[in-house]
């Protein structure tokens, strides 16, 4: 049995940091972490190891698939299956780029008065709506949610 070398440990650590950095970027509502750099993320790994899992409130993988399908199929009823707009506006990543996470989440959660956009808090949990907002802002890969 050979012990992992120092460089291997470093690369393991950075691989973990990469994953976490991606996770943090994917959760823009967590403002304090929003500006973390990769190195900062590496350091924060140790802090997070002491805290409960940060992603515990994310939907389960099965539920995520349902939510993605919902975005394409049901949001798509008004916004188009390609999310390029219809009765509702386009909700592609580029269309949402200047909107900001808070507004996208609030639109899903509370709806928009005076428009056909309903409040989805009747059908989603808050964590699900946040996850959905964040996925929309990143953009859905072409085949996802079919």
């Amino acid at each position: 049995m050979t012990l992992p070398g120092v460089s291997n440990i470093a690369s393991l650590l950075f691989a973990g940091a990469d994953r976490m950095y991606a996770a943090l970027r994917a959760r823009p509502e967590r403002r304090p972490w929003g500006h973390l750099t990769r190195c900062g993320a590496a350091a924060a790994l140790f802090l997070l190891a002491l805290a409960p899992a940060a992603r515990a409130e994310d939907p389960t993988p099965g539920r995520q698939q349902q939510l993605l399908r919902m975005v394409r199929q049901d949001c798509g009823a008004c916004h188009g299956m390609q999310l390029t707009g219809g009765l509702g506006p386009a909700i592609t990543a580029s269309a949402l780029a200047d909107r900001g996470f808070d507004m996208v989440f609030a639109t899903i959660w509370f709806g928009r008065q005076g428009t056909p956009m309903p409040p989805w808090r009747g059908l989603l949990t808050e964590a699900e709506a946040r996850w959905m907002a964040q996925r929309l802002m990143h953009g859905l890969p072409a085949g996802e949610g079919r």
Binding site: Q73, G80, M81, T84, G86, W120, R146
Partner: protein
């Protein structure tokens, strides 16, 4: 495809040979003396198209012997796609979300012509004589009229509000005499475009019809145009037979001041609401179907239903009205008996039931169950599912019998 009868049963019943796939046909024809048997001519009156929206394809189906005859692929983004038919029932004009207008042939299963005519389209209509096809567009807001034979553009008619800003168009339908009628979601208006001279269309406009018309329909006799309003609880109605047609409000204040419930899918009105002397209409933000008399457009009743109605469709004879719902209740169907105005069947035949289409005389209704990847054929007398057909995320179902009906 799972059917109660096997393929052999269908063949034994004299099913169509010309279309049914070569193998079985050539077996039966094998004993003929002639080396090449001419295919038996077939009609199109019992054919239809089913939209598979995620894969951009259409299924060609036969409704007399519920089965899939073939698939036409390559139609682009078909979310909210709708179809009108040439009057011989041979060709379907498909309006895609991505702005494509495609003409398909129901016997050859081929795309014959295709134009990208807008950035975002929502449906279309065909003229009384079948020569003009009109598309209604969200982007750029307006209608475009095409030669049905060539798909060449004949007229481009923008839809604008009082400030000249483009409006999305909804509820487009044909009227007698080469006319089309439509509503402007963003401009609270209704327009009639007269294309008796396609080179110089004449547009008549009605303003201030009510807030946010979301869809509309022409009654089967062509007399009334009814636009549902999203921005207020009521409908706008025009009597097109009047000397001076005017817009009037019908069923105003049907919500009785109550806070509307969330509408997770917009209802659709097109075409089927009339059963006998009454119109059956979905309420917005209320779990009710509203019943109005078509002479005075006064409310004569309302029926409590399982959720936000999306399609409220009268069986061709008008004896039953079938209702499907917005999510989260879109696994349910309810059947209303129009004489007693009671719900007589509560069905849960599948998941994500998006659309219904009656066979020409209504002995069966076909229902798309998107999340089950199949289409259900339900006997309307017994409310039992009598056949199912495989389809990829099916949505709209359109039968050629629409070719003979105004407003469809």
């Amino acid at each position: 495809m799972t059917l109660p009868l096997t393929r052999r049963d269908w063949l034994a019943r004299g099913s169509t040979l010309a279309l049914g796939g070569g193998a079985a046909a050539s077996l039966l024809l094998g004993g003929c003396a002639a080396p090449v048997a001419a295919p038996e001519p077939v009609g199109t009156g019992d054919l239809g198209l089913i939209v598979e929206r995620a894969s951009g394809s259409l299924l060609v189906v036969n409704t007399s012997q519920p089965r899939v005859l073939g698939r036409i692929e390559g139609l682009g983004d078909l979310s909210h796609a709708s179809i009108v038919f040439s009057r011989d029932g041979l060709r379907g004009y498909v309006f895609g979300r991505d702005g494509a207008l495609t003409r398909v042939n129901l016997l050859t299963h081929r795309i014959e012509a295709r134009v990208m005519q807008a950035g975002n389209s929502i449906g279309g209509a065909i003229s009384q004589d079948g020569r003009l096809v009109a598309a209604q567009n969200y982007q750029p807001g307006g209608i475009k009229v095409f030669d049905a034979r060539t798909l060449g553009l004949l007229a481009d008619i923008p839809a604008v509000d009082a400030h000249g800003k483009r409006s999305r168009v909804v509820g487009l339908a044909d009227l007698p005499g080469q006319r089309f009628i439509y509503a402007l979601f963003d401009a609270d208006a209704i327009c009639i475009a007269d294309l008796s001279d396609p080179k110089s269309p004449r547009v008549t406009r009605f303003d201030g019809i009510g807030r946010q018309p979301y869809d509309a329909l022409v009654t089967p006799n062509g007399r009334h145009f009814i636009a549902g309003l999203f921005g207020e609880d009521g409908l706008a109605v025009i009597d097109l037979w009047a000397e001076q047609p005017q817009v009037r409000r019908a069923l105003g204040g049907y919500g009785r001041g109550k806070e509307p419930l969330p509408v997770y899918k917009m209802p659709h009105l097109r075409g089927w609401a009339i059963a006998g002397p009454h119109a059956w209409l979905p309420a917005i933000g209320r779990h009710e179907v509203l019943v109005a008399d078509t002479e005075h457009w006064a409310e004569v009743g309302r029926v409590a239903v399982a959720g936000q109605p999306v399609f409220v469709m009268a069986r061709p004879d008008g004896r039953q009205v079938w209702v499907n719902f917005a999510l989260p209740d879109y696994h349910r169907l309810q059947v209303i008996d129009t004489r007693s105005r009671r719900v007589i069947h509560n069905l849960e035949p599948g998941r994500a039931l998006l659309h219904m289409e009656f066979t020409p005389r209504g002995e069966a209704v076909w229902v798309s169950a998107r999340d089950d990847n199949r289409v259900l054929v339900i006997d309307t007398a017994s409310a039992r599912t009598v056949a199912t057909l495989d389809a990829q995320a099916p949505s709209g179902i359109f039968f050629t019998s629409r070719a003979a009906r105004m407003g469809l």
